[in-house]
Each structure stands twice: as structure tokens, then as C-alpha cells.
Symmetry: C2
Subunit: 297 residues, 2 copies
Amino acid sequence: MTVETQNLETLTSDQWFIDKDEHQALSLKYTGEVLYDKTSELQRVRVINTFGYGKTLTIDNMFMTTETDEYHYHEMIAHPVILASGNIKKVLVIGGGDGGTIREVLKHPEIEEVTMVEIDANVVEASKLHLPELSQSFDHPKLKLIIADGIEFMASAEPKSYDLIIVDGSDPAGPAKGLFSEAFYQNCYQGLTKNGILITQGESPCFHQETFAELNACIKGIFGAKKVFTLLFHIPTYPSGLWSFQIASKGNIDPRNISEAKVTEFSAKNPLHYYNFEVHKAAFALPNYVKKLLKEM
Amino acid sequence: MTVETQNLETLTSDQWFIDKDEHQALSLKYTGEVLYDKTSELQRVRVINTFGYGKTLTIDNMFMTTETDEYHYHEMIAHPVILASGNIKKVLVIGGGDGGTIREVLKHPEIEEVTMVEIDANVVEASKLHLPELSQSFDHPKLKLIIADGIEFMASAEPKSYDLIIVDGSDPAGPAKGLFSEAFYQNCYQGLTKNGILITQGESPCFHQETFAELNACIKGIFGAKKVFTLLFHIPTYPSGLWSFQIASKGNIDPRNISEAKVTEFSAKNPLHYYNFEVHKAAFALPNYVKKLLKEM
């Protein structure tokens, strides 16, 4: 029996932007208007206007960030590790060219210096032109923006320089591929101060599943199994909806431990859309199938 | 500027099954083979074979359940409320025709009787024919299966009859529409024993967003605001990936409180794929944007 088609819909590419692998696809309907579209030797960067999620930055055929739900990702990459660490002065961000991560990082007044290394000036330009909420911190006096390859930057970075390294890259394709390598994370380990902490975009346990597990294993191999923590959060505009960060601690910081008073104090000064104390605790709870993927069960 | 199409993909309906609203779509690629396809006056029921998630039950153009991730939903609709309640003997399931919910419910030996009221015999037939993992409990001696309209059933149900009512219906369209009405939940309230508890499919805070908030408000109006709890879980094959159950307590059971020993003991006897003690606690943590939708912040 073959399926009748009259009750099924067809998504056409002039109306729907489609982020897919061979088995599943996430599609957002958009106006057809493309606000930004530049292709370099690195990748194609576009800003489209979606009906459900507002202006949306895409790289090649992947959703990067949307105006409406970007805070899920940017709050969760910044606040859990910074609030749990407590003594972060120098931060390095690899990637993150849309500016959302530095906007959140710079909400913490104890941080003295943020170095950001983004490979693609077009991403910064697209965000500055079309995503003002995301790009509002590019002129911050504590920020040093370097347009360069983050992988090469880490290979020659001064050891023990950063209290926090944030790897805010895209999926392991194109220029982000080297962000999923052992050599790169070895260099991150060297670049961290004695009690430093790393957080990196960790893919999804339901999409790029192998990369999710391999990255966790790779970082455990470098930092030690007990120093690596998987944080899960939800984002409706990434395929499957469930995404992760891998956190690795060079010293003894356990990012699961957090003071409720500290989160409450920070939240009172900085109204947040996603993150709160309960969400911090909950983000480290892993369903059994995720524990199995990570060989933690 | 209009988008160039050569780098975008088109999803055709003879290869991809598409579950969508006007703004976003989730699509799973399938073999093209349809294992079951019956249309009644109620709805169209199909079983397709997807590449990523195995055999998949669909109703009209919605994904209902897939072989590969069905346990996310079925474990979370059964175990948190049953383990937190502790004294459940009589259970009523409205809907749930694929059998996944009763399979999980019947893992609790203290339960004496399960009545299931499913409106569409085709759903039961499709599951029995093609989804053996889901349909394995239809012959259980404690089960009483009634093919009837659950809304009408509740309207004439004996008061104070059930310790637990599970509403396992589909989205508010077609025959499931009345499952999102005040009259129906009033009848559920009447049907519960003094300390009884209700759990109902609550839609997504990122898809059918209005229904999500309205259902919560409706149930709060009947049970009282402090007796209603929103449980979140992740399921990759429902649009947006984030889904909810609304839990309402007629007595004083707070489903957030759970004994770790009890969960550990149950899990040792019943190996689970998704649910564990940490997941139970985490499921009640609501991101700020969800609290705002529910007027809880």
C-alpha cells in the first residue's frame, strides 16, 4: 500500500526553511524575504524573517538563532557556569558571533575581560544589522573582539589564561568541524587557569547523537570522567528540541551546586526569560537513555 | 531579495510525514509504505514506517507515538503520579488506545483495576497489529477496555470512583476537542475519590501555546490554583520537542514530593528508558517563559 497524498502537506523551500538530517526535519515558515545573504569561502550566512520566531540567523542550512527563543541557549551557556563558579575574571568565547553569549556573560559585573574569537565577520555583521537584541554588547568596554580561527587561536594561546572558556560553535560541519577534536580541547585545558571551567555546545542526544556521545567521551578523556557534566535544555528551533552543553571543570567546581540566594539576587537585577534556580538544578537531570548514551548507567 | 532555492531542500509528502501548524513543522522521513490506513467518521488512523523512529502511529496529520521514543510519554504519564500518590487502586484511562499508558500503569502491582475508555477501535486494532511493544497489555486480567466516547463516559460516571484518572488524548481537534473543556474536567473532579489525582495531556508551551495555558487555567479553576502542577518532558517526535502534562490533586498529594528509595526500588524491578528520580524532580522545574504563560510569575 502506498500513502495517499491528498491529506499530506508539502513544504516548499520558498516558504519554509528546513534544517534536516537524513531522518528528521525541522521547518519554520518565513516570509520569503531574506534580509541578509552573504556567502564566503567559510559558509553562507542569512537572516530570514520567520512567522513564528521572528528574525532568524541561519548558517548554510542550519538554524543558528531566532529572536524569539535565542535566550534559551544564551542564558544557559552563560549563567549556570558563571554563577556556580563564583570567581570568574577572564573569559574567552570561541564563536558566538551573533553576540548573544557575550550579552549574557557581560551581565556579571565581577568579570573583568571577555575575549571573543569569531571566525566569520559576516555573522557579526548580519547580527549588527538585523538582530539588535543579540548584538547590543559589541561595543562593551570589557570586550575584545578578534576575527580569527578559534582553533588556531587556542593552539597558540598563553597557558592558564582564562577562568572560563565558552565554545559557542555550530554543528560539526564546515569551519566548526575542528571544534569537535581532541587537540582543540587539549588546548582549552591548557588555556584554563587552575580552577577554570569550560562549557561547550554539545549537540543533541536525539540529533547528531554520535557526536553528542563522542564529544562527552573526548572531554572526559582530557578532564577526567568525574569533572565532566552534561547540561540539557530545550530549544524549539533546533532539530528534536533537546540540546546540550558539556561542562568540564579543571579544578573542583561542581556546576550542579548552586546557591538559591545567589540566583535570586542575580535574577532580581537581570530579568531572565528562561533560567532560574529550579531550571539550574533540573538541567543536570539526565533521562536514562541519555545516561546510557554517555555510558553513565 | 528573495531566497535562492538551490541550497534548500524540499520535503515531499510521499517521503516525509509532516506534523505542522501555520508556523512550524516537524517531519519524519518514512519508507513510503503504510502498514495500516483506516478512515472512520472519527479520524484517519495510519501506521507508517519511519527511518529514524521505527513504526509510527499517526492520527490525521499528527504524530501520535513512535516505537523508538514512545516511552518518554508513557513513562512520564504513569510513574510520577502513581509513585508520588502511593495508594492507587482504581485507575481510569480516557484515550490511550495504542496501549502504552496501560502497559506502564500495570507495572504497579498495588493497582487493582484499570478501566480504559477509547473512542476509536481502529487505534487499538492498529496497535495490536503493528506495535507489539505498545499493545502487550490489552489482555491483562486487571484491564477493562471499553470502546466509547470518554467525554460521555465521564458525564455519567459514578462519583468518587477513581483514585487516578489519566487523560491520554490527542490535540484539541476532531474527537479529542471535548477533552479540553471545563465540563469534562468538572466530571473528572467528581469522578475522583477524596484524595484522587488527575493527569492529562497538556500540549506544549511552544506549540498550541494558547491551549497549553487555557487548559492549565481551566483545571486551576476546578481544583484550585495550588492543587495544579505542570510537568514538562521532552519528546523529539512532537512538534517543538517540549511537551507537558497537567496534574491536579483533589486531596493533598503534591506530586513533586517523591521518595528516592521508592523510585529506586520500582526501577530495579522495572527497567525504564526515560524516568528516574532526578528526572521526576526536574520535570516540575519551569523556565521563566513557561511560568509567565501560566501566570505563575
